[in-house]
Symmetry: C2
Subunit: 404 residues, 2 copies
Amino acid sequence: MAAFSCPSSYVIRCSSNRDNNHDQNMKNLNNIKISGTSPSPRSGGKPDMLSQKTGAATTSVASVTKNHSLTAERIRQNIPTKKQLVDPFRQGLIIEGGVGYRQTVVIRSYEVGPDKTATMESVLNLLQETALNHVWMSGLLSDGFGATHGMMRNNLIWVVSRMQVQVDQYPIWGEIVEIDTWVGASGKNGMRRDWLIRSQATGHVLARATSIWVMMNRKTRRLSKIPEEVRAEISPWLIEKQAIKEDVPEKIVKLDDKAKYMNDDLKPKRSDLDMNHHVNNVKYLRWMLETIPDRILESHQLSEITLEYRRECGSSDIVQSLCQPDEDEILNNGVSQDINDITILNGFSLATEIMKGNGLLGSFEKRPLRYTHLLQTKEESKNEEIVRGRTVWKKKIPTMLFST
Amino acid sequence: MAAFSCPSSYVIRCSSNRDNNHDQNMKNLNNIKISGTSPSPRSGGKPDMLSQKTGAATTSVASVTKNHSLTAERIRQNIPTKKQLVDPFRQGLIIEGGVGYRQTVVIRSYEVGPDKTATMESVLNLLQETALNHVWMSGLLSDGFGATHGMMRNNLIWVVSRMQVQVDQYPIWGEIVEIDTWVGASGKNGMRRDWLIRSQATGHVLARATSIWVMMNRKTRRLSKIPEEVRAEISPWLIEKQAIKEDVPEKIVKLDDKAKYMNDDLKPKRSDLDMNHHVNNVKYLRWMLETIPDRILESHQLSEITLEYRRECGSSDIVQSLCQPDEDEILNNGVSQDINDITILNGFSLATEIMKGNGLLGSFEKRPLRYTHLLQTKEESKNEEIVRGRTVWKKKIPTMLFST
């Protein structure tokens, strides 16, 4: 029941600018429910939300325009108020006995990189989109951040605390993929959302993803239990099924100034902000990946990312991106694990490597590389963590044989 | 019959790196057509394309893998070889008596900015996508850049020389829009491609766009006439219909170092490169817009852009973005024109302004702002133009009345 447009968690500081924006969204939504000037029953009994006016004459003209434009917006968006089983425009349908969602998507020309395969950024975007469309189909959607009606009444928003994506093969330009997504319980007050991306032509699973979500009070910025009325909305949708089996999630260590690579003075731009006025996930990923040396980006393909969100990043923050390769892990890694990885993920086998004259040692060069990442705000007194990350990289199939 | 993934024109220099990539793509495409090692009849009689091997034993294993992967790619992409009238996955259909293309698109959550409306960048992306899908449906598509089979045989690619987009209202998050696109002749050796974006719910035209394309020899980088066999492919698709009426296109002056605003040392990143290994259009637009002061970006909405492409920008170029406001135009602009613009584009009328106590003079503040732009490479000896641009900005509806 959530998208990850609000990648924040735990201790959150919020600029007043951001708070104003939240309030504005809230007021807009309340305005939709009413056509006059009295407070909506959905506004949580806060008549002051509509009474903050700068002058009667001025506001009345503008209010009419605003209400008219909000009604037009509602017609143009057409968010369903009841559960839908099929959406022909989103190419979505409800699956898994009425609780899961499947959307068919064509990989677009601008979603792929120079190698004509979808980028990890595009994959993250499609996960966000299908998650939101799942809530859209449920009839529970209240706003652009995936909150349900009950959450709105309780001033709650979703925040993502962890996200993991494994890509075996990237979708290619023009490919039709099916993205399945569903939700499950995570502890007493958390929710898990998983995804599978499948090639329609071959039926192969191309990618898997999982994420953990919690609720936060929009005003106090404190984590919240799930209120009963929200639990009643969500419970019918929860199933036990996991896209990625993982008994004990790998812990991501915190990097410090001794990290091997660092990009400094990163500043969010207007175009990096999402509907929630936060820096979006894709920008986090870019900041992380741009810290990795070019020679690695050229010779390797990102096969897995794990992100742990600590704090939201606003438009005024200045950010540092740290990155450290797991050299120890490369030296200590078992051979058999390594060979399996190569076979599965690159379509390459040890036999092929030996036939090519590279022998067993040659195959070591293709072992995955692993990096630990940290994005943090850069402040005079103290840095604050935004996201910790882990990335795993597989050697690309050597295309240089064909271009020399 | 073209997308604008290759935004280059006229005098083009190309790094050897880029050339290799082109050749590699060409080889890949040729490999698709054959299952052995003899040259394809479509390769333009260039057997050397497949004979550049570094060693028999090494290449034979890799070739098998490569050919296998190319066959798999072809199955996954499934580019049609005959004209299609409907594509249920792209939600596309052929219109205009068999020559135009219409695609229904839902505006996605990550395509909108903080105000929940699509960004100009997303609009540009959707224009590119629908243009390519038009060629896709035609059965003429050879590669990711919109070239036809005849163009491939003649070593020709499309290059865009001019692009103009007018947005009356931006599509909003979740809105279903219909994008129509078609092509027409432009002079003897050019092609025009137009677009209309319509809200499905209201039927209103939200945006209009037009572009001019010419052909270039992929190897010599010189502009080319349209060969007869290519003319035969394209001619049946040309119609006379214009999305934007414009008798004499406005000339964009060239800015120099005296421009009021300048961003320096802009460097393309890996994630800015498209399938064609060029910096993509969206990045050009970002570089232009980021030069405009924040206070304008916050108070105004981009309503029109015109781009004139001069030269392609590769990954190793360092770029300068210059920007100059048309202050004279603001002072000299006629009152009646201004009032019409306000009425049509902001849903605001002069009467409303006067009622609000702003009077006639108040409405002047809402007149559109115009900027001239230039992106150029920054070199020791000489700067070279990449794109000239014009942008027009309308004042946003004053939402501050509701957030105070």
